[in-house]
Amino acid sequence: MTAPTGERDELVIAGDEDVVRVRQVVRGFALRAKLSLVDQTKLVTAASELARNAVNYGGGGQAVVELVGNGRRVGVRARFADDGPGISDVELALTDGWTSGSGLGLGLSGARRLVDEFELETEVGRGTAVTITKWAR
């Protein structure tokens, strides 16, 4: 069980300037959670990929960033949700190098490798939500 420690921020992600803002906010939380520099960089990079996906494929959405604790450790959790078309084949979308557009196809699969916890919920026609967590060591 993880209980939120109270600090939380919500951001609208509509355009690519919001992707930059998400990176900055997530960095701030990562600093507060005292993640190592490498872990901060990994988390911010994963967040950047997921925020961009919400803009490019989900037609925009919302990011919620929060400080979390599980009694032993502190971490940062970020959730990226959109009301876009959803993902019909999740396994394919999570394949390295697969893209339906003109990307490198490393956003989802790469983000999953960069964090400690990765959860993808999606429903065709309803939208997509990806939640990632990185714990301080």
């Binding site: 992707v19 520099l37 490498v38 960089t41 990994k42 950047s48 990307g103 790469g110």
Partner: protein, 137 residues
Amino acid sequence: MDRIPILKIGQVLLVSIQIDLQDQSVLALQEDLAEQISATGAHGVIIDISAVEIVDSFIGRMFATIAATSRLFDADTVVVGMRPAVAITLVELGLTLGQVRTALNLEKGLAILGKLAAERELAEGLDDLDEPVQANS
């Protein structure tokens, strides 16, 4: 949207990225650089990322695109100053910079470009020697 300045130093174009890049700025930089390389006939491009805190797949792809574009104009690209945390993250993200040359710092980047330019001149000289020689009649 911020535009990244391009400096010309001798035969080299220098781009020093000092801000958190939004995708539009990345695309604009790719275009501006292609124009500048073709207009100036520069033999090399240096992209200094020592101030860059994260490189995600979109920004990483820019390096490859710039390197490929510069090759079309007979110029080489070197990415310099990548932070260790960024390098570690890129590997885990799954991004191989493949054809993109990297160097520890600006000085080493310039040395690489100088060497490549010298090699190219030498190769051109040898090509001239290869010109068919008129047979004596």
